[in-house]
Subunit: 383 residues, 4 copies
C-alpha cells in the first residue's frame, strides 16, 4: 500500500516538473550531457517496463517494441540503443505518445503492485522509484539548460524557486578531531550500492566550513583575476578555461556592466548572498587554492555532516569516485547502475534545491566529470 | 493584384507542406545540413520583414527584435545569428509563435502590396517568393530526412507522392552536333543572378541520355561491387565511401534479404523502374565510370534540354558551380544570395518531384557539395 | 642515350635540392600536406621500382619488400600503405637507407635502359621522370614549410634564390578578342593525361593583366581591411579566415611594426616589388573582388599566355579542376595519376620559381584545394 | 663531491640510453604522449639552465635564448612554449646542437657545483637529477614506442634487457590485518612533494598477491572473451576498447596464428611466464573483475610492500591521484611539478625494468590517465 502510494507520488511528480513546458521544450538536446525531457519521461518508464513488467508480470503487453531502442540509456545487457548524441534528433515518439506510454505502464504497474511480490521485486520497484527521482533532478537541471541557453531566455516559472535564507552561524568553521570514523550507509531504508559497505576510515584533524561559498565571495575571486592566473588551476582545468573561454559560472552574463544570471524566472541580477552555483570542480579547486584552503574529502564531509546545514548545492569534494572496500556489483543489468562509472569522476556530497524530498541523505554519493557544471553545484571549504 | 495572389499562394503552400507534421517534427535538426521546419517557416518570413517591411513600409511594427538573431541564415550584412548547428537546439520560439509571426508579417505585406511600389521593390517581393519556394523544396527534403532517420520511420502521407510514369522513348540517347550554343536566362520573367549573363559556349559533339538511370540499373552497379572497387571513384569519393560505410543510396535498407527504401508512405520495397534517387555526386560519377560513360556538363545539359523529359530529379552535372562571364553581385545583403557559394560545389540541373510548380526552368542552376544526397538527386548519362 | 642522360639529370637534381638539409630535416611532417623529404626521395624511387623494374626487368632483386608499404603514396592498385598523417612518424628507413635504395634502383634502371625497350616502357620512364620533377617542386615547397615553421627559422641557403626582375611592360592589360580558341596539349613531347584532349572553346572578349599582383598592392588590400570585410570573400573563404585567424600571406610575420617574410635566406623585410606569394584561392579571389576585377579562367589564361611573361608563381584561375572533353583514364595504377583528383580543387596555371627547368608549358594544369597556400602561388587579374 | 659524481653519473646515463639510436630516431613523435628523444635530452638540460644557472650562477652565458621556447615542457611560469603536439615537427635544433647544449650546460654546472651552495640550491640540483631520471624512464618508454610502431620494427639492442626470473614464492597471497598504517615518505633522502606528508590511514583486512599477473594468465582472459564482454569493463573503458579496437596488450601482434610481441630485440614470441606488460588501467581492472578480484589501493600496496618482490612493472592501483593530507605546493615554477596533475589520473606504484637504479622506493607515486599503456605497466591483484 505504501509502495503504491510512493509509486503514484513519484510518477506524478515527474509530470508536475514538466507542466510548465511547451511541447517543443520536451524535444531538444543542446549539448550531449543534456537529455530531452521527453526522453527522461520515457526512460524512467522503460525502466519499470523492462526490469519489472516484462520479466515478472505474466500477460503484460509491451507498449511498443521499438521503444527499447529509443529509451535504453546505457544498459549494454538490454541491447542496442539510440546513441546519446542522437536523443535530440528524434521528433518521434511524440510527447503525447510518451504520455500514453507512461499511462500504459503506470496502469500495469499498479495492477502488478496489487499482486504478492517477493522482497527482491519490491526492492527493484524501490530502485525504480529512486532512479526516477534521480531523473527528476536531471529534469530540472536539463530544463534549466534548455531554457537558459535559448536566445530568448524564457522563464520556467513566475514564482521564485531558488531564494535562500543563509542559516545564521556563529562560527565559520567546525573543527573535527583526528580519529576513526565510520563511513557508508547504515540502516534499513533504501540506498544505492555505491554507499555500501560501511567501513572505518582514519581522518587527520581538520576543519570544515559551516557555510557555502557565496556569489559575493566568488566575485572577489573573479575580480582578483582568478580566471587568468594559472597558478590556482589544475593543468587540465587551465586547458578547460582557455578552450571554453570561461570567465564566470555557468548562466552568468555580463550585461550593461553588471553580472546577471539566468534563473527560473529569467535573467536576474546576481544576488551576492546566495551560494555560488553551477561551477565545475576545476573552478571549485581554483577558488579554494586562491583562498589558501582546500575542498574536503568525501569522508571528511560525511563525518562532519551533522555539524552544518546542507541541501542547497551539490558540493564538490576532493575525492575521486571509487568503490568502497567490499563493494560488489549486482548481477545482470542492475549491476550496470553505478560500478561501471567508477573512474575519472569526482564525488559530490549533499543535495541541491532540485533534489526530490526524501531523496537526500548524508551517505549519498553523486559523481560527475570535473568539467561539468550544469548541475546545481557549489563549494564548501576545508582546511 | 497578381503579386498579391502570388504572395498568398506561395505563403499558403509552405503551411500546406507542413500540415501533416506533429509539433515535435518542426523542432529537430538531425544533421547540420537539415534545418528544423519551424526555422524554414520563420526564416522565409524574416526575409520579407527584413528586406521589405522594416526598410520600406513606414509604421511597420517589428514582431520581435530577437527574431533577427534566430532567423537570419547567413546574411553577414544583417548581423549576428544563431550558428547553424544550433538551429535544432532551440525550443523557442515555439511553433505557435512562428505561426503568429507569419500571420503578423503576412497581414503587413498584404497592406504593403496595396501601396504603390517601385519596380525595384516589386522585384524584391518576387525574389522573396522565389526564395520561399526554394525553402519549400528544402522543407520537403528536410522533412523526409527527419522522419526517415527516426527509428520509428513514420509515414509523412498516406497517398503516394512519388510514383512516376517513365516516359516512353524510342532512343536512349540524343546526339547533339558540335557548335555554338547560347547559355543562360533570356526573357522577362524572374531568374536568379547566377543564371545571368547569357553567353555563348562552344560544345563538341556529344550524346545525352533521354532517360534517368533507374533503381534497377543502379542495383546492377551495386551487385557488380561498385561500392568496393576504388577504380570508379574520385579519391575523395572513395574516402567518403569508406568513412561513411556507404553501400547503397540514402534511405535504402537491406531488410530480410530485400532492398527497401524509406518513402513518404514509410518503408517500401525498391521499385526497379523508378529513377534512382538520393545519391551523391561521387556515386553518380562512379556509376557513370562503371558504365564507361560520363555525366553531362551543365552546358551540354541546357543545350539539349528541349530534347528530353526532365523534372523528376535534380540531375548532377560534371560542372563546378562558378560564375558565368559577366556575373555581377547585387549590392547589399541581397548580393550574398548566390555568388559567395561559388566554390567547392557541383551544379545540378533540372528540378525534382518536390520543386514548386512554376519554379523550374532549363536555365536554373542548383548546387551542392559533392557528398550531399538528402536532395532528390538523380543521374542522366552522357558520352 | 638521351633517356639515360635525362634519367641521370633528373635523379641527381633531387639529391641536389636536399644537399643543404640536415638529417633531421628529412624526417618531419609539420602538417598533413607536407611530406618528409626522405619520403619524397623514397617514393620517386619506388615509382621506378614498382612500375618498371619489378614487372619488366627480369632478374631484378627488390631492395626491401617492406618499402612498398612505406613509399606507396595513394595507389590503391598497389596495396596497403602508411597513412598519410603517419609519414612524419617514421624514423626508419633512415636517410642513409633511402640513399642506398636510390643507388640500388638507379643502378638497375641504368642497366634496364641499356636494354631494348618498347615505346610503351619508354613512355613510362618519361612519366617517372616527370613524376619526380613534380616531387622536386614539392620538395622545395615542403622544405620551405619545414624550415619556415621552425621557431629557429633557419636559412636554407646563403645566396638568393627568389629575387625577381619584374619585366617592364607598357600596358597593364592585354585585350583578347571574342572567338574560338584551341585548348590543350598539342605536339610530340611529354604531357600529362589531364592536358588532353585538345579541344575548342569559345571565349567572350576579355582583358588579362600582363603583370602579377605585387606585395605592395597586396599590402594595400590588407591595410584597407581586406581580411575583415566579409563582402569580398566566398562564404567558405570567410570561415577559413576566421577559423585560421588569417591576416596575411603565409610566411609573413609582423615584427617590430614591420612586415617580414620567411625566405630561403631566413626572415627578410617584405619587398614591395616582388609578386605576392603563398596565398590561397580564397585570398586571390577576395583581392580581385576588392579591386573590382576577377581571376581569369584557365582557358582565358592559356589562350593569352603568349602575350605576357609567366613562370614566377603558380597562378590561381577561376576554373575548377575537371576533365577535358574526351579525357580517358589510363588502365591500371598509372590511371590513378590525375583523374581521381578531379573534384573540389581549383586549377593553377603557369609555373613557379621552384619548377624544374623544362617542366613548364602553357598547357600544364596544376590543381590544389582552395585553402592551400604552401605552394608558390600568386595572382594575375582579368576583367 | 658526491653531488658532482651524481651529476656526472645521471647525465651520462641519458646519453647511454640514446647510444643505439640513429639520428632520425631522435626526432619523431608518433603520438602526442611520446616526446622525441632529442626533446628529452634538451628539456632535462633546460631544467638546469633555467632553474639553477641563469638565476644563480653569475656570469653564466645562456646557450641560445630560443631554446626556452623549444624545451619548456609545461611550466606556465617560465613563459610560452612549443605546443606539445608540435614537438615532433621540429627538425631543429638538430641532434648535434642538442649535444652541444648538453656539453655547454654540463661544463657550467660542474663549475657551479664547485662553488659553495646553499642547502636550497643543493636540493634543487638533486631535484634536477631526479627529474632527469624520470625522463630516462620516459626515454626508454618513448624509444620503445618509436621503434615498435615503425613498420620495419627495428631492434633497439641485441642483448636481452627484459628477461625475468619470477621469484619463487610458496603463497600466492599475503594477508594483511586491519588496522592503522603510516603512509608517505619518511627519511632524509630525496622524495617528491607528492609523497609528503606522512599520515595515518586505516585499512580493512585484505590480501595482496605476491606475484604479478603473467602473460599466460592474461592470455586466458583474452581467450575467454575478455575483450568482448562489456560486463568486466568500466563504461569509459568499454568505449576505449571499441573506439581503439583493442584486443591485446600494446605491442602484441597476432602473426601466423601465434601471439608475438615487440621487444627490445624486435618481434619475439610471447613468453607465458613473463609478467604481462603495457596494459591500461581499464584492462587491469577488467582482468581483475574477470578473476573475481580487484586491484589494491595505493595504501594497501604501500603497507604490504615489504611482503612481496616488486620492481618489474609499474603496478596500477585502484587509487586516483590526489593530494595527501597536508600536501603543499612549492612556490614558483617548481610548484608546478606535481600538484597540478592531481585530477583524472590513476596512481601506479612500484617501478619497472626501465626505472633508473636508486630511483625507486615504496612511497613513490607515479600517475597516468587510465587509457595509457606505453609505460611498462602490470597487474598485481588483491581481495
Amino acid at each position: 500500500m505504501q509502495l503504491k502510494n510512493d509509486f503514484n507520488t513519484v510518477r506524478k511528480r515527474s509530470m508536475h516538473i514538466c507542466a510548465p513546458l511547451k511541447t517543443e521544450d520536451y524535444v531538444v538536446q543542446p549539448v550531449v550531457d543534456v537529455s530531452p525531457p521527453k526522453w527522461h519521461l520515457g526512460h524512467t518508464t522503460w525502466f519499470f517496463e523492462t526490469f519489472l513488467l516484462k520479466p515478472h508480470f505474466p500477460g503484460y503487453k509491451e507498449f511498443d517494441p521499438n521503444y527499447n531502442f529509443v529509451f535504453n540509456s546505457y544498459y549494454e545487457t538490454v541491447g542496442a540503443r539510440v546513441i546519446r548524441t542522437d536523443r535530440g534528433n528524434l521528433s518521434r515518439p511524440a510527447v503525447e505518445d510518451v504520455m500514453r506510454y507512461r499511462e500504459h505502464v503506470d496502469k500495469a504497474m499498479l495492477s502488478f503492485l496489487d499482486t504478492p511480490l517477493s522482497d527482491e521485486l519490491r526492492t527493484l520497484v524501490v530502485l525504480g522509484l529512486n532512479h526516477e527521482e534521480q531523473h527528476q533532478e536531471l529534469l530540472y537541471t536539463d530544463i534549466k539548460y534548455i531554457l537558459g541557453h535559448n536566445p530568448l531566455m524564457p522563464a520556467y516559472a513566475d514564482t521564485a524557486v531558488d531564494t535562500y535564507q543563509t542559516p545564521a552561524s556563529d562560527e565559520p568553521f567546525v573543527q573535527m578531531e583526528a580519529g576513526l570514523y565510520d563511513i557508508g550507509y547504515k540502516g534499513d531504508g533504501f540506498c544505492f550500492d555505491n554507499e555500501l559497505g560501511r567501513h572505518t576510515v582514519y581522518l587527520q584533524q581538520y576543519s570544515i566550513a559551516t557555510q557555502l561559498v557565496t556569489n559575493a565571495e566568488y566575485l572577489e575571486f573573479m575580480e582578483a583575476g582568478g580566471y587568468t592566473d594559472f597558478r590556482h588551476w589544475h593543468a587540465e582545468g587551465w586547458d578547460w578555461v582557455k578552450t571554453n573561454e570561461v570567465r564566470a559560472p555557468l548562466y552568468w552574463h555580463h550585461v550593461d556592466g553588471q553580472w546577471q544570471q539566468y534563473t527560473w524566472q529569467g535573467l536576474q541580477p546576481v544576488n551576492g548572498n546566495d551560494p555560488v552555483c553551477h561551477i565545475s570542480y576545476y573552478e571549485a579547486t581554483a577558488f579554494a587554492s586562491w583562498k589558501g584552503l582546500r575542498l574536503p574529502t568525501e569522508f571528511e564531509w560525511e563525518a562532519a555532516s551533522a555539524q552544518f546545514s546542507w541541501g542547497q548545492r551539490w558540493e564538490w569534494t576532493e575525492s575521486a569516485y571509487l568503490p568502497y572496500p567490499g563493494f560488489v556489483k549486482a548481477p545482470g543489468a542492475i549491476g550496470e547502475y553505478n560500478g561501471k562509472f567508477m573512474v575519472s569522476q569526482m564525488v559530490l556530497r549533499g543535495s541541491s534545491e532540485v533534489t526530490p524530498p526524501n531523496h537526500s541523505r548524508a551517505t549519498y554519493r553523486n559523481f560527475f566529470h570535473p568539467g561539468l557544471r550544469w548541475q546545481f553545484t557549489g563549494i564548501r571549504l576545508a582546511k
